[in-house]
């Protein structure tokens, strides 16, 4: 591949401003003030290659509309990434190809090993960790572009002066590029620190409980206003001001940290989706800076994807996006939300009783929740389902949109355990079937079956769509103990119903016990 020689001063034709300075006649190659100083010739094939990469990324997401097309979609995504990387490599003069290839090899190997080894139950924290990497990469790219704007074609001419035969041209980063850069770095930094906190909370390395600072809304708002103000000052300034740029970066790191700290527990799926969205906007902002269509298309796709997932999660909890952002949900809930209520009578069942009822049942609906993931009970659960099917029982799985710690988490765990996806149903598709169901088998879920969401206006989960398990003939509730309540910290009337059998044990052990008694 031959590269066009870099021309520092592109030939000027009719683009000169009307009152042509006398200098321009002397030196027709000198750009006017405000012109972009383009050092790399723009090849239309390069732009087309990046566009092709962007289209392949769209196809990658499109493939996910059905499990049967999803694998092809993933390959489209890989092809798009390959095109983007190769195009960049062949169109830039590479002073440091060995280092670049080594960096790709190191990162690739780390990523590959992590992807092979990660347990499916740990997907939420992995995704959060990956978001933080996108955010940090955006910060690094933004700073690199700031320090070496010539390599990114970001320079515009700010002044031309001549001293006899010597013409000196003053250049700086254009104001639009500066705004794009500052926003890209700010969103990247915010994504990074927010995702690190989300990762620590999801991985259990930090308390999942919300941490509430006094006056946090004012502090956060103040920092965001400061970032915007500094961005404006940075764009207007005469020279490229390192202090402003550094201040924007640091403040964005701080606000990302402060925004996620007060959010916890049941709101984590929203946080993960929201950070997904931010990582997309960071990539899009960098795409604006670099005038790169692949980055802009991808950023827009990822940004809207995360935003839609956040919306779905909020709707599934009947919470407004703003109240999630404000944080603090479940902060004041003790393990026993209401002492008086827990004195009500309840029935304890054994694995043997449960096995007997399950075997005699015609229709069983299994409702998994995060507790199933914690106990790693999905494989035992699938085995129980298989044995029951052998007894002629119709076994189906019902998944609430917010079950687990990220969107679709339960579906992946059941798929991992080889549960066919046509036996797994969404809330709205199966909720009308509970009246014809003999056993509703709740394993590791709680708030998503709490009828208080339908009846008790004072309940924190009021209005949240829930499974109508109380309509089933028998309800089996696997739970560690009677003490703990769900993440929302509300008591659940289902525990005390006549047809409810509480199976108090570790979820996996209980399911294994039940399987023993099924034969």
């Amino acid at each position: 591949m031959t590269l066009p020689p870099p021309t520092l001063l592109p030939p000027m034709t009719s683009q000169m401003p009307p009152p042509a300075p006398p200098m321009a006649q002397q030196f027709p190659d000198i750009p006017a003030v405000g012109e972009a100083l383009v050092s790399h010739a723009v090849n239309p094939w390069v732009a087309l290659a990046y566009l092709a990469a962007g289209v392949l990324f769209i196809l990658a997401l499109r493939g996910l509309s059905s499990p049967s097309t999803s694998r092809a979609g993933n390959r489209f995504g890989m092809a798009g990434m390959l095109i983007a990387i190769v195009t960049t490599l062949v169109t830039h003069q590479l002073a440091s190809l060995p280092e670049i290839l080594a960096a790709i090899a190191v990162g690739g190997a780390i990523g590959w090993v992590i992807a092979r080894r990660i347990a499916m139950t740990d997907m939420p924290q992995l995704v959060a960790a990956f978001h933080s990497l996108v955010g940090l990469a955006a910060v690094l790219v933004g700073w690199a572009a700031f320090l070496n704007p010539e390599a990114f074609d970001l320079l515009v001419v700010t002044g031309v002066s001549s001293n006899q035969d010597l013409v000196s041209i003053k250049t700086a980063i254009g104001p639009v590029s500066r705004v794009e850069m500052a926003l890209g770095v700010a969103i990247g930094a915010l994504t990074f620190s927010g995702s690190v906190i989300a990762f620590l909370k999801l991985a259990g390395k930090m308390s999942g409980a919300p941490i509430l600072l006094p006056g946090r809304h004012i502090i956060n708002l103040g920092i965001i206003v400061a970032i915007l103000g500094l961005t404006a000052a940075f764009a207007m300034g005469e020279v490229d001001n390192t202090t402003y740029f550094a201040a924007i970066t640091v403040l964005a790191f701080i606000v990302g940290f402060l925004l996620i700290i007060p959010i916890g527990g049941a709101d984590m799926p929203v946080v993960v989706s929201m950070l997904n969205s931010y990582s997309g906007w960071a990539a899009a902002a960098m795409g604006f800076t670099l005038h790169n269509t692949a980055m802009i298309i991808t950023g827009a796709l990822v940004g809207s994807s995360g935003a839609i997932l956040s919306y779905i999660m909020c709707k599934a909890m009947n919470r407004s996006f703003l109240s999630v952002i404000a944080g603090g949900f479940g902060a004041e809930a003790g393990p026993l939300g209401d002492g008086a209520k827990t004195d009500r009578p309840w029935k304890r069942g054994s694995a043997e009783d449960a096995a007997f009822l399950l075997k005699e049942a015609e229709n069983v609906i299994i409702i998994p929740g995060y507790g199933m993931a914690v106990a790693q009970a999905q494989h035992a659960l699938r085995e129980m389902g298989d044995v029951l099917k052998g007894h002629g029982v119709n076994v189906r799985y019902a998944i609430h949109p917010v079950a687990g710690r990220m969107p679709g988490h339960m579906n992946v765990l059941l798929a991992e355990a080889n549960v066919p996806y046509d036996e797994v149903f969404e809330l709205e598709d199966i909720n009308s079937e509970f009246a014809q169901t003999d056993v509703a088998f709740i394993i590791g879920a709680n708030d998503v079956v709490n009828p208080a969401a339908k009846t008790d206006k004072s309940s924190p989960i009021y209005g949240m769509p829930v499974f109508d398990v109380e309509k089933a003939k028998t309800v089996m509730f696997i739970k560690r103990s009677m003490g703990g309540v769900g993440y929302a910290g509300v008591d659940n009337d289902v525990f005390y119903m006549d047809q409810t059998m509480m199976l108090l044990a570790d979820a996996k052990k209980m399911v294994e016990e039940i399987i023993k008694h099924l034969d």
Binding site: L126, V127, L140, V141, A144, M286, A415, N418
Partner: protein
């Protein structure tokens, strides 16, 4: 490209994203997040330009660090998505799958 042209691409892509993502089945929302993670690392393009650019050694090292981070995400993101999607392969009917299912489960772990 001028700013308005780029902005137009961005706005159109947001609409495409909106409709495409609503068509994703909820069962695949976790793979969706993993794959969006991988593709948003197209930001590696910026890191490559920085690492390739001569002139500023600090910018070059920032670029190289960016390449490492983005590569972790690209390889990790696509690989973990592929791993998850492989689990959604159509299973045989339960009657025939009883014996094979156990074998397949072992195969997955390997």
């Amino acid at each position: 490209m001028d700013f308005i042209a780029i902005l137009s691409i961005f706005v159109m892509a947001c609409f495409v994203g909106y409709y495409v993502v609503w068509s994703v089945t909820p069962a695949l929302h976790t793979p969706l997040m993993a794959v969006t993670n991988a593709i948003s690392s197209v930001i590696i393009v910026g890191a490559l330009i920085a690492a390739a650019g001569a002139g500023n050694p600090v910018a070059k090292w920032l670029g190289l660090a960016g390449i490492v981070l983005a590569s972790i995400n690209i390889f990790g993101g696509f690989a973990v998505t592929a791993r998850m999607l492989a689990m959604y392969k159509k299973k045989e009917r339960p009657a025939a799958a009883a014996a094979k299912g156990a074998a397949a489960a072992k195969g997955d772990k390997a």
